[in-house]
Amino acid sequence: MNLNLEKINGFSVLNILDERIDAHNSGDLKTYLLQLIESGEKNLIIQLQQVRFIDSSGLGALLSGNKHIIAKSGKLALTNIQQQVLSMFELTRLNRVFDIYADLNEAFTDET
């Protein structure tokens, strides 16, 4: 899976660079998030701008990351979600579980 992690304003911003998250690469994403959280990451923002498709296993990987970071008193936010992908969060009601922001600036403002 193509990922890029950068530090901005004290947040770790994870850019998912693949257009598609499905059962083929969601396991990698899940493992990566768990390792990041185990290593002490507490303020994580995941940018989904490039992602034009996500399936149930991809939602599951993000949910797993969210559960683990909350268990360690951290926060995970999602930004820049494309419309069709956002509709998947709405259909599964996961939009009520995640902190979702339009863009990084909105996330920085609200999370600090």
Partner: protein
């Protein structure tokens, strides 16, 4: 009986790297529909998703130890309906016993069939002689 305007048959090895290919075919079919008046981008996403979920399920339930294992997928476009069939050689399951997701306490897995049912009009799972078939219908009117 309606005749098919388009029929696509694909057989893939039971490997998740082929999910992209299968989903993409669904997207392309949505863009080929003549006279579809609904939200074409939404339909393209739905067909991509439904094919991805159904094929991933079939791969997951296949017998991993059989190298000859494959999943057959058929997409049939009729005058007013799109019929997707995914054949697997696994043990099968009882569709009626698949529970709805617990939205208050969401779990990491178990959302696939819910998504398929939410987006499509009819979903059945039938045991045939030597395989199972998940049949999904979307009416286009």
């Amino acid at each position: 009986m309606n005749t098919a305007l388009i029929q696509v048959e694909v057989v893939i090895p039971t490997q998740t790297k082929y999910l992209d290919l299968i989903g993409s075919i669904g997207e392309r079919v949505a863009h080929e529909l003549d006279g579809y008046t609904g939200d074409r981008e939404a339909l393209a996403y739905q067909l991509n998703l439904v094919l991805t979920e159904a094929t991933a399920n079939a791969i997951k339930h296949a017998h991993d130890d059989d190298p000859k294992n494959s999943v057959r997928i058929s997409i049939q476009l009729q005058e007013n309906a799109l019929i997707i069939k995914v054949y697997d050689h696994g043990q099968g399951f009882d569709l009626a016993k698949v529970p709805l997701p617990d939205f208050e306490h969401p779990k990491e897995s178990g959302m696939g069939l819910f998504l398929i049912r939410s987006m499509m009009d009819s979903v059945t799972y039938t045991r045939l002689d030597d395989c199972n078939v998940l049949e999904i219908i979307k009416y286009l009117e």
